[in-house]
């Protein structure tokens, strides 16, 4: 059986891999959101953090010619942005939405500025991308960080639900006063959680450069940080739920991508609306109900 000139199994395999590829930054970003928000810190800054991570990855890759150091640099910068978020929203009790907006505007500005200052004349190619894992017998290959992202979903689930620290994170996000009463350092746990969130968002940035592409382009995350936010809500603030939502959104993007190369014309904009409409419906309670952690967004 064939579908647009190819064996149907190969078409499906291709679709699966493309889905995973689109879902990778969404999954990592959504996990970043879960880490922060389960601890009660709203994170609308995933976009800015990922963008900075991707730029840091590119900068380190062309500077050190070592893509693993580049991933490390993306993680470090992700954490730095997260610490800024923490300084503002936890220490200085700035409204968490405003703090997130600061990071998004700053992230867009500083990466665009540095790229323009250093690489506009000629953007050097980084030494390459992370290894890709070929599937034997086909031309199809899987990105390294796509696999890491899937593993991290499981790790996040286990850490959040089965370790003392994860349970503290949840306590702090649901009822900080109660957590404080039993001796949990609320601010400390929240700082820890957003550092984890920064690591995950930084890795999300690394999934662009050097994970998938050898060069950075300004604004390259193109709203995926907000799709990740949507996936987190769609997945009801749970790692596996967020992952399922990320796969779902990834599938819509992959369908659009693959159908075009197959000759089927489908408006990319209509497909592009899908994650946002789906999230609005969930938020409005038309499709299930998505309830955030009780103390999400409340400074302590």
């Amino acid at each position: 059986m064939t579908l647009c000139g190819q064996p149907i199994l190969l078409v499906l395999l291709n679709l699966l891999v493309t889905t995973l590829s689109f879902a990778t930054p969404i999954t990592l970003g959504a996990l970043s959101g879960v880490a922060c928000e389960r601890a009660g810190v709203v994170n609308i800054a995933i976009e800015g953090m990922m963008l900075c991570g991707a730029f840091a990855g590119y900068w380190a890759a062309v500077t050190t010619h070592n893509i693993w150091l580049a991933v490390g640099m993306a993680l470090i910068v992700g954490v730095l942005m997260a610490l800024l978020h923490g300084l503002l929203s936890i220490t200085y009790r700035v409204d968490q939405i405003i703090s997130g907006t600061v990071i998004n505007i700053l992230g867009f500005g500083i990466t665009g500025y540095l790229y323009g200052q250093w690489y506009t004349a000629q953007a050097p190619e980084s030494p390459g991308t992370l290894p890709i894992i070929g599937i034997p017998g086909t031309q199809v290959s899987l990105q390294f960080l796509s696999i890491v992202a899937i593993l991290l979903v499981g790790v996040a689930h286990l850490v959040l639900n089965y370790t003392p620290w994860g349970l503290r994170v949840q306590a702090v996000g649901e009822h900080p006063q109660a957590a404080d009463t039993v001796g949990i350092n609320v601010r400390g746990v929240r700082y820890g959680a957003i550092v984890v969130g920064g690591l995950l968002a930084g890795l999300g940035g690394a999934s662009y450069v050097p994970g998938y592409l050898p060069v950075f382009t300004p604004g390259m995350t193109a709203g995926y940080g907000f799709i990740a936010l949507a996936a987190m809500i769609f997945g009801k603030w749970r790692p596996f739920g967020a992952w399922a939502a990320a796969l779902f959104f990834g599938l819509t993007l992959a369908l659009q991508n693959n159908m075009q190369s197959c000759g089927v014309q489908i408006s990319p904009q209509i497909v592009g609306m899908f994650p946002y409409v789906a999230t609005l419906l969930v938020l409005a309670g038309f499709v299930g109900r998505s309830t955030p952690p009780a103390a999400d967004g409340v400074p302590y």
Binding site: V94, I98, D296
Partner: protein, 395 residues
């Protein structure tokens, strides 16, 4: 956040006029933090330029270019006013929602949608000028109004937090705009994703034709006056402010919370929609020579960033209409100056986003600024109310 006026003595005039000296002292207190925030942001921006270029003259050259492009000539001043106009509308939009305790992050999408609606009326109809322009502006207002009403309704009815819903609706609006520009509303004679040119009857009249300065800035000033009047001199405005200051008290007093929330978000969206409508009917594109009046159309990437920046404009202006005008002028000057700066010195224009982000950072964290400059906190300041008191609470 700028807490609305005390509920006890809302719309009435103060019992006795304060002395001029007291007024000046109060003004100084109000302006201290914003002024220090702006100063610090520019200093840090200079630091970024210095660190990345390694030369101090580059910093001087860049800021000189910025100043020259913003204020250095009549054309520069006109550019600043043109760029400030949408900031005034969108800043007022965010400020009005703040007054109701709502955070409208959706201005970005509302501006784009308002611009698209106004452009549609502008190119699609043949009407006399006295009807065409008002209709185009009204279409932009209505587009933003309805787009803003949706998150307000969702908030009031289902408790869906307006921050999330407006973010989602931003991207929905941007996708919708791209969809329209890729087919139904695309100019068949152009390769670019843009609407056909607007009829001359739908253009905003020019204030100074030689500088392409359109009259939108006057409309923006009028809008600021109207917002002030609405908030402080009408019953609905009072109820919106009360809902923002203390929803429980507002409910206890029998005020219709649902209506206030929907109305505040819709009006906020309408103001943002006007930002787009005024921009699309006013800004001259494809200007060939200094006196040329250019074309008017709506293209992909229209006014991008205005909606997000306007959050900073509203906060810097402390949600006060006059303050919003001042903040919008500063942000407009930055946008206008950036082009000249990049032309003069090759310092990338994105540095103004860095400066704007830093201004927002410091304005939002007054405690940080006070600590940096060892300024004592005002005695009377109580705890700052948080806007985001949870994602899912019902009003």
């Amino acid at each position: 956040m700028n807490a609305p006026a005390p509920v006890a003595a809302p719309a009435g005039r103060p019992a006795a006029r304060p002395s001029l000296g007291a007024l000046a002292r109060r003004l100084g207190r109000e302006l201290l933090i914003p002024a220090l925030s702006i100063l610090t942001a520019f200093l840090l921006g200079a630091g970024v330029i210095w660190l990345t270029t390694g030369s101090l003259p580059a910093v001087v050259g860049a800021y000189g270019g910025l100043l020259q492009g913003a204020l250095g000539s009549p054309q520069a001043i006109a550019n600043t006013l043109i760029k400030a106009t949408p900031y005034i509308f969108a800043g007022l939009a965010v400020a009005l929602a703040f007054k109701c305790g709502l955070f409208n992050i959706g201005a970005e999408g509302q501006v784009a949608l308002g611009g698209l609606c106004a452009a549609f009326v502008g190119y699609n109809f043949q009407l006399p000028g006295f009807l065409h322009l008002p209709l185009a502006l009204a279409a932009g207002l209505l587009g933003g109004f309805l787009w803003g009403a949706v998150p307000g309704f969702l908030k009031a009815r289902t408790g869906a937090h307006e921050v999330i819903t407006t973010i989602m609706m931003n991207y929905l609006a941007l996708q919708f705009v791209a969809l329209m520009l890729s087919g139904p509303m695309k100019d068949k004679h152009s390769v670019a994703a843009q609407t056909p040119h607007l009829a001359v009857t739908a253009w905003l009249p020019m204030l100074v034709p030689t500088l392409q300065l359109h009259s939108g800035v006057l409309l923006a000033a009028a809008a600021a006056g109207a917002v002030w009047w609405f908030l402080y001199r009408t019953t609905w405005g009072f109820e919106i402010r009360t809902t923002g200051a203390n929803p429980a008290a507002a409910r206890y007093a029998g005020m219709p919370i649902v209506r206030n929330v929907v109305l505040a978000m819709a009006l906020s969206g309408g103001l943002a929609g006007l930002a787009g409508a005024v921009d699309v009917t006013g800004v001259a594109l494809n200007v060939a020579s200094p006196g040329d009046l250019g074309d008017r159309y709506f293209g992909l990437g229209f006014s991008s960033g205005y909606g997000f920046d306007s959050i900073a404009v509203a906060l810097l202006g402390r949600s006060n209409p006059l303050g919003v005008i001042a903040a919008a002028l500063l942000f407009g000057a930055l946008r206008a100056g950036a082009t000249q700066m990049q032309f003069n010195t090759q310092v990338p224009g994105e540095i103004i986003s860095v400066i704007q982000g830093l201004i927002l950072l410091f304005v939002a964290a007054p405690a940080l600024v006070r600590r940096l400059y060892r300024v004592r906190a005002p005695v009377a300041s109580g705890p700052q109310p948080a806007l985001t008191s949870g994602w899912g609470e019902k009003v």
